[in-house]
């Protein structure tokens, strides 16, 4: 990773030593999990470049944009509507929460039995290693699970520009109205922050950009149904992760180019995994950079991940916003419609998720579903138990895994995953 940005990092207030150790571990992880693997699509070179400059060039771009008066808005959840941010010509970045950092410090603020994702956000903040967080003009938290909801109360002390968005918990009319009014409130906040009046035309532009990005990701997702799978699950996960902080237009172009290449690969029957390799659908909690543990273990064991039923994956990019509306109200309603379909486990009840897993596993011709729950994540773990029963009744092989970001349980996980792969192959 490029280190020629020391001054920029210092100006952002990063702790250079801690930041250096983060970059080093990212670098090693990236080399082992990605660069050293064979048979990757050539167009992955774009992603490799983006990753090598993730704290460099991309941050420089953000700072240049800020200098020209644009704003940067950070988010922790796929419920934060990117369309509104883009409509105000602001930049949206997903904040990654995929590694343990400064755990001892974090556990002075949060109980040990908090999910790794939440702790990670605090770790990055407390140790001053995330340039995205420091560059953001506004950080959006959302009231989803109890862990996040309560943790944001503490996070606000560390990140005064935190804006908390409330979210419904039920898919009822009242729930929908609530989402609508929260999105309206967010629109006003974004207008105030940017000084831009979000007109219908601007909103349509924002919707257009997001739709194109999601359509490219959906195209990629569909191509993975081919056997042999044209791209590894690790590379596909990386693409979905990068989708959260790359420039949307450039990213969309790059992914479509990659998809063109994958189509050729499919025609030539050249896969990222051998013909007939067992196919796995991953389902559950989000996997943020650099959380690559589970797909890495699965693919090391000879199987291939063909889909992620997760926010970094299908749940994040599924469904487009209808572009038929003309007024701002109609367009806002279309945005609410799209987001209200997200089948996150914080909703109760959440039956759509089960049917969607079944649908995905059939469409992608998966041989089994691995459910990934982050330790202490009640919504997903509680949901996974009845899911297991019900999917098994429909003859879908299902393995539940509970883990965190540490590498201590790799041996155990490897045995479980290998045994599951033996069963389904």
């Amino acid at each position: 990773m490029n280190r020629d940005y020391q001054k920029m990092w210092l100006d952002l207030g990063l702790d250079l030593n801690a930041h250096d150790s983060l970059l080093s571990s990212l670098e090693t992880g990236y080399r082992d999990f990605f660069l050293n693997r064979k048979n990757r699509p050539e167009e992955m070179a774009y992603l490799d470049f983006v990753m090598s400059e993730v704290h460099g060039l991309r941050i420089k771009e953000l700072l240049n944009a800020k200098a020209s008066g644009r704003k940067v808005i950070g988010s922790f959840c796929v419920f934060v509507p990117e369309e509104i941010v883009l409509a105000a010509d602001a930049i949206m970045v997903g904040l990654c929460t995929g590694a343990d950092f400064a755990m001892a410090e974090v556990e002075k603020i949060l109980p040990r039995n908090t999910c790794a994702l939440i702790k990670s956000a605090f770790g990055f903040k407390l140790s001053k290693v995330c340039p995205f967080l420091e560059a953001a003009d506004l950080v959006v938290g959302e009231n989803t699970c109890d862990g996040k909801k309560k943790a944001y109360e503490q996070f606000k002390q560390l990140q005064p520009n935190l804006y908390v968005m409330d979210l419904p918990q039920q898919k009822t009319d009242i729930g929908r109205e609530h989402l609508q009014s929260e999105y309206q409130r967010f629109l006003t906040a974004v207008e105030q922050l940017t000084g831009v009046e979000i007109t219908a035309e601007r909103l349509r532009h924002g919707i257009d950009l997001s739709n194109k990005k999601r359509a490219a990701l959906a195209r990629l997702a569909r191509l993975r149904a081919a056997d042999p799978a044209p791209i590894s699950g690790l590379d596909a996960l990386l693409i979905n992760q990068v989708a959260f902080y790359d420039d949307p237009v450039r990213f969309t172009g790059a992914i479509n180019k990659l998809c063109d290449e994958l189509e050729v690969r499919i025609r030539n029957r050249s896969g990222a995994a051998p013909d007939g390799a067992p196919r796995i659908l991953l389902s559950g909690c989000p996997m943020a950079v650099p959380n690559w543990k589970i797909p890495w273990l699965i693919e090391k064991a000879g199987a291939v991940v063909v889909g992620e039923e997760s926010c970094v994956g299908e749940r994040g990019c599924r469904n487009l916003v209808a572009e038929t509306g003309t007024s701002r109200e109609e367009l806002m309603a279309a945005i609410v419609d799209r987001y209200f379909k997200i089948d996150c486990a914080v909703f109760t009840p959440n039956p759509e998720r089960e049917s969607h897993i079944v649908e995905m596993s059939r469409a992608l011709k998966a041989d089994g579903v691995v459910h990934y729950g982050l330790q202490f994540c009640q919504p997903y773990i509680i949901e996974s138990m009845p899911l297991e029963d019900r999917l098994q009744k429909q003859d879908i092989n299902f393995l539940r895994i509970e883990t965190d970001y540490s590498m201590e349980d790799v041996g155990q996980l490897q045995t479980r995953l290998e045994a599951f792969i033996e069963i389904i192959s």
Partner: protein, 252 residues
């Protein structure tokens, strides 16, 4: 044709060699601090046409001993090994040095589902080992000693570390160590039963394997609670290695 299976577990390593469908070599050693060296010693002087490694040290072994060695998980290995010994088994309870698992078999012998305990040593051989130590019994007699109990004490903690402090306080209260040992065995049996109950146990023929299956007290308590006779092989620790050898033989 000689095919060997090697099972590198957390406490012990076993080798089984099969020739013409019969077990011709069956050996065991401690895992110690360098499992691969121990495994090499165990295999020294044995010619075999094919070798398959299983157990938690399988990859380490395959990577260092001989890169051509193939591996299989202990789940599949014990499934095959158990069926070889008991063709009627439908559930396997395997309690080893550091983990406990339950494996369900389909009529043809394939694994249909399995569960493993999580990261800690609660309810495993390690728990018994610590127990034996704190009560001053040799590990290989712990079960017999526990069966001499005259009353049953309740042990609440299943965590190896907390149970130890519970034991200390029971000793402090003047309780008899046989009774304490019995309570600890009951705790292990209860935990195993609750793991088994996540599977269809009614009417199932259950094989009990792994190092803890040598313990007569755990066996008796399990049989009482499950109200069925368990299928326990003569040497419950060899099942994984035997299964690996059989898989090696099948694949030729």
């Amino acid at each position: 044709m000689r095919c060997a299976g090697i099972d590198l577990g957390s406490r012990t390593i076993e080798v089984v060699i099969i020739e013409d469908g019969k077990v011709v070599v069956s050996r065991q050693t401690e895992t110690g601090f360098s499992p691969v060296e121990q495994a090499e010693k165990l295999l020294a002087g044995e010619h075999c046409d094919r070798l398959l490694a299983t157990g938690y040290g399988r990859h380490l072994f395959a990577d260092t001993y001989d890169r051509k060695t193939e591996t299989v998980t202990e789940i599949k290995a014990v499934a095959v090994g158990t069926r070889f010994m008991f063709s009627e088994a439908d559930l396997i309870l395997d309690i080893g040095g550091q983990d406990a698992k339950v494996i369900a078999l389909m009529p043809g012998g394939r694994v249909s589902k399995f569960e493993m305990n999580d990261r800690c040593a609660a309810g495993t051989g390690k728990f018994l080992e610590l127990t034996a130590m704190s009560l001053g019994f040799p590990l290989d007699q712990l079960g017999q000693e526990a069966l001499k109990a005259e009353k049953e004490l309740q042990i609440n903690s299943m965590c190896a570390v907390f149970a130890e402090s519970e034991v200390t306080s029971l000793i402090g209260r003047g309780e008899n160590r046989h009774d304490i040992a019995f309570g600890l065995h009951r705790a292990i049996a209860n935990r195993a039963v609750s793991m088994l109950k996540r599977f269809p146990v009614a009417g199932a023929r259950i094989a009990f394997i792994g190092g803890v299956a040598i313990n007569p007290c755990v066996c008796r308590l399990l049989e009482e609670e499950l109200q069925t006779a368990l299928l326990v092989p003569a040497n419950p620790q060899m099942v994984g290695a035997c299964g690996a050898a059989l898989i090696a033989a099948q694949a030729i």
